[in-house]
Symmetry: C2
């Protein structure tokens, strides 16, 4: 029997899915899961995803890099936020642990870990690695789009479409209307992925924050060849 | 200031929207809102939308036509279900009241009536009438897609895209990613609306029920020129 892959367009729809025995692929293209892939590939040894800002007080800044983002911005008082460029080729992070809280991505991760067989972290930066990883597993797959405060986001839906195309090509079945919608976006974006994805409301929302370089960084394909996964309460490689 | 129009892809996302002072446009293309438009244009004087089957017992079948659908089928024991062809050119329904419960559409209506300024009923069958109606109002608009048991459906998202295109053409602003997604579908379906819409999982799900004629009926444009609306607990013209 074929393995199945489906897409959950928002964490607020996750209750509609039975996650038992499934691998949940969490994506938050702009920017949390792109940051996670980048940080772990640049020397961070472990990421602890936190949903609430108040929990950050439990961590000592001499032991951890503490990163906090809300509404696209670094939270006041913190040095690190949700920019992959904070971590990319930054030698000072080598060997350290990262505590990270973001508007959407960390919430999606913490919601899925309750019932899923496994939770993995996906972005354009490691899309082929994710597809290969799922090929070698026996489990059905739910791609969870982190969205924006519960609302569906263009970039995550688009990413899910790209990943579903890959999964269908290696034998997965994917028949829901949400899957169809996301795969239509892949066709629509064929001529220019970056231009298409930057029509996202995330870009408009963050226009004054000067994070265009971040968004373009997040739209690179396959610069990393591994798949971060959730191990107890931490994300590791 | 421009009026705004947005799309809520599923009743399970409705909590994300502030409905105060807004007109909620409920659509369930396959088939509840198409049925409502058809019934009211063929002599039904009032429709009472019911969420639960158990509430049907409150209505006497000598006073009302009682129609019940679940999972695409007429509920056992009832003569009428969720087929527009039950009502189209059926003289025996003239002047009667209809009590209707369906899998998705009646739930969406009953969810929106709590907070919205007004709830109206929309389908391809009356799309231009709906657009004209909204043009003449001062309110912002939320198009609520009924979906399938909380899941996003292709046909409702596609309908919302068509309606949003019309609303944008008459001066509304619509900037969310969900709006963008739905309007992409309009482009994708340009060459053949019926063929495109029948890729819906609703078609696959109901393939053995012989309702293909229903689905094609529901994809006709502008055969009715009026807008059903919710008045207290009933839908009327």
């Amino acid at each position: 029997m074929k393995k199945t892959a489906d897409i959950c367009l928002s964490p607020d729809l996750l209750h509609l899915f039975n996650l038992k025995d499934k691998i949940v692929v969490v994506t938050d293209v702009f920017r949390a899961t792109s940051v996670m892939c980048t940080a772990l590939n640049n020397g961070i040894v472990e990421i602890i995803p936190i949903s609430n800002l108040s929990q950050l007080n439990e961590f000592n800044s001499s032991d951890y890099i503490i990163a906090a983002e809300r509404d696209g911005k670094i939270v006041e008082g913190y040095k690190y936020g949700n920019s992959p460029l904070n971590y990319h080729e930054n030698k000072s992070i080598n060997g350290k642990k990262l505590v990270l809280t973001t508007t959407n991505g960390t919430r999606a991760i913490n919601l899925s870990k309750k019932d899923a067989n496994e939770v993995i972290i996906a972005s354009f930066l490691n899309i082929t690695a994710v597809s290969n990883y799922l090929y070698n597993k026996q489990n059905d797959v739910i791609i969870l789009c982190s969205g924006w405060k519960g609302q569906v986001s263009l970039e995550d839906t688009l990413y899910a479409g790209f990943l579903l195309e890959k999964l269908i090509n290696i034998g997965f079945k994917s028949e829901s209307d949400s899957s169809f919608l996301s795969r239509q976006l892949v066709k629509d974006s064929k001529s220019n992925l970056i231009k298409f994805a930057l029509q996202s409301s995330h870009k408009k929302r963050t226009e004054n924050l000067g994070i265009d370089r971040d968004l373009k960084f997040c739209l690179q394909l396959d610069i990393y060849n591994n798949v971060p996964f959730l191990k107890q309460n931490s994300i590791v490689l």
